[in-house]
Amino acid sequence: MSRQIVMPFGPQHPVLPEPIHLDLVLEDETGVDGMLSIGYLHGGLETLVEKRQFPEYVYIAERTCGICSFIHGMTYCQGIERVMGLEVPERAHYLRTIWSEYSRLHSHLLWLGLFADSMGFENLFMNAWKHREFVLDVMEETTGGRVIQGSCKVGGVRRDIDQETLKKMERDLKGFEKGLKEMANVFLNDDSVASRLRGVGVLSRNDAYVCGAVGPTGRGSGVPIDARMTGYAAYGELDFSPVVEQDGDCYARCAVRVNELFSSIEIIRQSIDRIPGGEIEVKVKGNPDGEYFSRSEQPRGELVHYVKGNGTKYLARSRIRTPTLTNIPPLVKMLQGCELADVPVIVLSIDPCIGCMER
């Protein structure tokens, strides 16, 4: 048996967009174990509920993440609305669904670009981010913000999308989808991509379940967890099913995200076709008194916002359980027995969002 050494990986590393530290236990170049430590981005956002009134906290919730910010705000609002018994107008639910799916497209394309970069495939990286620009432009046109939208509020949404713009969005999706198909072909069928990803960082279905894997990390191992199936926002009215792969390796997690791009486009199309007219918000009176675990499906997996009100303007507790936090134990499993050269690709394959995780 070779001598074991502990090799630090991060917090600053070319492949890591955000700081996270790994202690890799190695025998020669084979990983025996990998342990993480975090805290470089811990902002204590959850404790800000003590200092911000519950309608203001939407802005804090949105800033938990710079990528899926809209979904954070929406999930928090859903929790408060449930505690207060608010009936949000149907149109607002559909608008939330549309923006959530554009957020998913934006996040997956960003990740696909970073993933291609981690494999040294620069051209593919730039191609993915070119398509992402289209999504950000739509977000900006409809909400006013490319990354932080600020369009969700307790009781509904702040902005409507007029019918003409909705039709234009639907038309533009055709060209966008065509470009995505060409890019997806490279991710799914290119030999160099497949040889870099197949059989790397395998997470078995059982490990995915016991470790609590969610989102594409879980679905890539054959666990069909998708919080959208609970029917929040307008998802209960739409026809879709979770994208699932069985192999549990980096390729499978990549394939889930690639195929979810097309699933998101289909959900947006359905939402545009079925969106009803009417109001986009209800008036909010009183203060929340009660608790609720609000769940949604972020691009990285299931998100939980626990809110507990005490009848005042200030919440007693906000707890944000992000998908990256719960995907850390599966990552520890994947790193056991991997090759040192595969560590960057494996770490990226869970799409870690450290700012989100540390809150």
């Binding site: 811990h42 470790c211 929040y232 303007k313 007693a316 850390i328 134990p329």
Partner: protein, 126 residues
Amino acid sequence: MKPENQELRLIDTAHLIGEVEDYRNKGHRLVNVSCTRAGEEFEISYSFELDLRFENIRIIIPLDADIPSISGIYWGAFIYENEMHDLFGVHVRGMNIDFKGNLIRTTVPYPFRNTSFKGEGPCQDR
């Protein structure tokens, strides 16, 4: 929107491991473990899901009490238990991976242990 029905049961700490084992045997997924300071106690909630049915159990413990780890039943629970320890100072016995306070590097020990709900700061106008 279809509102999700959520169950919440208060249980005794002595029954925690047995209850969690029941959930594991029935095939539930561990969704979350969260801690909330409630006066001079901690509320610790364990959330599970099976076939989109969301269930929670809760224990209430004094601030200085310790609790058994469920990481022997759900391997991935160590991340929540270490987080509870590092942010709230909750002592968890028998974690499969114990970071010994080094999972989250905080400048202040147990930063979430004390809240400012007792009249300090902007909460005074409540």
